[in-house]
């Protein structure tokens, strides 16, 4: 299994992750080693096996729905929501400009 720095750069882009040149080199090496372990899965026969996305034992109990009603006691005032924001103003989260004029 070969993985190139270019592929790693592409995946970092998909993941919205900046990597320094050193990190990119290290990441390429690490992913290569890890993917070698992952590739062992080719050796096990899974013909006719249904994929398991969730713990399936108890769907009736766990796949529960609740009434779509408001819970005022669980609402957060905007001031509380914005308390942890890096930058906020006028009751909004602020981000760098998206549209250039």
């Amino acid at each position: 299994m070969r993985i190139t720095e270019e592929q790693v750069r592409y995946v970092a882009d998909l993941a919205n992750l900046s990597l320094s040149p050193d990190e990119l080199t290290r990441m390429t090496r690490d992913l290569e080693g890890i993917l070698d372990v992952m590739d062992r899965l080719k050796d096990i026969d899974t013909t006719g096996v249904e994929p398991m996305a969730q713990v399936l034992f108890d769907a009736e109990d766990t796949a529960a729905l609740r009434a779509d009603v408001d819970h005022p006691e669980r609402r957060f005032p905007i001031a509380i929501v914005l308390e942890n924001a890096a930058v906020s103003g006028s009751g909004y989260f602020k981000v760098p400009k998206v549209i250039e004029r």
Partner: protein, 477 residues
């Protein structure tokens, strides 16, 4: 009062006999934790005011002659991936270094309603990703049993505080062994309940289909008591199960004669010799209690590490997308555009292991690789679950080592992610199948490093696990 060795029953008796008050316990706990923590770095944040506030309520209830709850006056630590209203919750990450949650996790709410005193937030691997607690942005935790060694991970702090005695019980989280492995390394009891048994509301998501909250204790009964308090349906987590919660403490006291356990041969192949000897002796102890032992096979085990690190990282890459520099995380100052801001905030805020897992998860989900990795892993996951289902037709519990070897030296595996991942081999199958599992102390190596015995039972049969663990603990005492 020997604070470091207190148990829940001793606290209950002491409060009843008025030997001490809950406020005195909270004060002593805060003092003891502050004094002892520098040795291990097991807490990221101490919360003495919060513990004291709950303690006052407990004392008021007791003064009125009311029931103050199953955890009245019990000092509890909470892993720092579980949110606590008004108390900083970092997830062991620089990206959340200043995050003050506006709400409590359901497990936290329940343990405080039962009178538990929250002493502080336990250190852990960043976003619960790690097997040694060396991936914390707040520094590694040292193992109380051997300070130059890792406490295990990712709930290393939660295990260490209980071993060290700065909390009586604690909450951890387990996605691939993050409760059982540190419990084993630190010589305490750690329980991963059935998937859905405990609400995940307020647990920061790592891999949602595998994440669990569970308890640590110095005794089997203490861990059982904490699980009894936090378990049960919660309308804020739609995956939490409605199954009734039995009396787990009572289960610890039941006889085990006639129970049947299976030893899966795949879990004894790559074992360090000293660990193997201790596990063999533990199995003999169970036999002497009248437990029948048979050999079994769980053939898909060899593929579990690959399966786990595909599924867990795929889910993580999606879950960690929320840390974006906008709503509650660190924001990079370096950025001109929104896209740059996302990238740089995440690049600066996440540590190396987190980045590795986000990258791996994004890769296995990306176009052209989805079928070969993600879909294939989900099929292998089904085979692992089927292995256990077949085993439980034949036996009441599966018994294995928790880890192939005891706690390793700090720094030993930091530069080798593959070796670190492979060390999880015996614990990840439980999470993939969604069954309950626990680690119960079963001895120590000649160097004094603790070793844990893993007990696994079928879905929602935590009681069967506690029955075996309780009897085993009494037999060793």
């Amino acid at each position: 009062m020997n604070f470091a060795q207190l148990t829940i029953p001793q606290i209950q008796q002491g409060l009843k006999a008025k030997q001490f008050s809950a406020v005195e316990l909270a004060t002593e706990a805060a003092k003891f934790a502050a004094a002892e923590n520098p040795k291990t770095n097991a807490y990221i944040t101490l919360s003495p005011d919060r513990a004291l506030a709950t303690a006052r309520l407990v004392d008021e209830k007791l003064a009125r002659g009311e029931d103050a709850g199953a955890l009245a006056g019990v000092p509890v630590a909470v892993k720092d991936v579980i949110v606590t209203k008004g108390v900083r919750t970092t997830c062991g990450s620089k990206i959340l270094a200043n995050y003050i949650p506006p709400y409590d996790a359901t497990a936290v709410e329940r343990l405080e309603q039962a009178g538990g005193l929250i002493v502080g937030k336990a250190n852990c691997d960043e976003f619960a990703m790690g097997s040694s607690n060396e991936n914390s942005a707040f520094g590694p935790v040292r193992n109380p049993a051997a300070l130059d060694r890792v406490p295990g991970g990712s709930s290393g702090g939660s295990a260490a505080v209980v071993a060290q005695g700065t909390a009586v019980v604690s909450l951890g989280s387990d996605t691939g062994g993050s409760i059982r492995q540190p419990a084993s390394f630190c010589g305490v009891v750690g329980v991963t309940p059935t998937y859905g048994r405990v609400s995940r509301y307020g647990l920061s998501a790592y891999a949602s289909s595998l994440d669990h909250i569970g308890p640590f204790g110095r005794t089997v009964e203490d861990a059982a008591a904490l699980l009894g308090v936090i378990a049960g349906r919660d309308e804020w987590d739609s995956t939490s199960a409605a199954a009734p919660v039995p009396d787990y403490v009572a289960a610890c006291r039941q006889d085990v004669r006639g129970m049947k356990i299976g030893l899966p041969k795949e879990y004894f192949a790559g074992l360090a010799a000293e660990t193997g000897d201790i596990i063999a002796a533990a199995v003999e102890t169970l036999k002497s209690l009248g437990v029948e032992v048979v050999d079994i096979s769980l053939p898909a085990t060899d593929y579990a590490v690959a399966c786990y690190y595909i599924i867990a990282t795929a889910e993580a890459s999606s879950n960690l997308a929320r840390y974006d520099g906008v709503r509650y995380t660190h924001r990079s100052e370096q950025s001109r555009t929104l896209a740059e801001m996302y990238r740089n905030s995440r690049g600066e805020g996440f540590g190396a292991e987190c980045k590795r897992r986000i990258m791996l998860g994004t890769y296995v989900l990306s176009h052209g690789y989805y079928d070969a990795y993600y879909l294939k892993a989900q099929k292998v996951r089904a085979l692992i679950a089927q292995d256990f289902a077949r085993a439980f037709e034949q036996v009441d519990a599966v018994v294995t080592p928790v880890s192939p070897f005891p706690a390793w030296k700090l720094g030993e595996k930091v530069d080798d992610p593959v070796a670190m991942y492979l060390s999880d081999i015996y614990t990840i199958t439980c999470d993939l199948a969604g069954i309950p599992g626990m680690s119960v102390p079963c001895g120590a190596t000649p160097e004094g490093l603790p070793v844990g015995l893993q007990l696994l039972t079928k879905h929602f049969d935590e009681s069967g696990m506690f029955r075996l663990a309780g009897a085993f603990e009494r037999a060793r005492a």
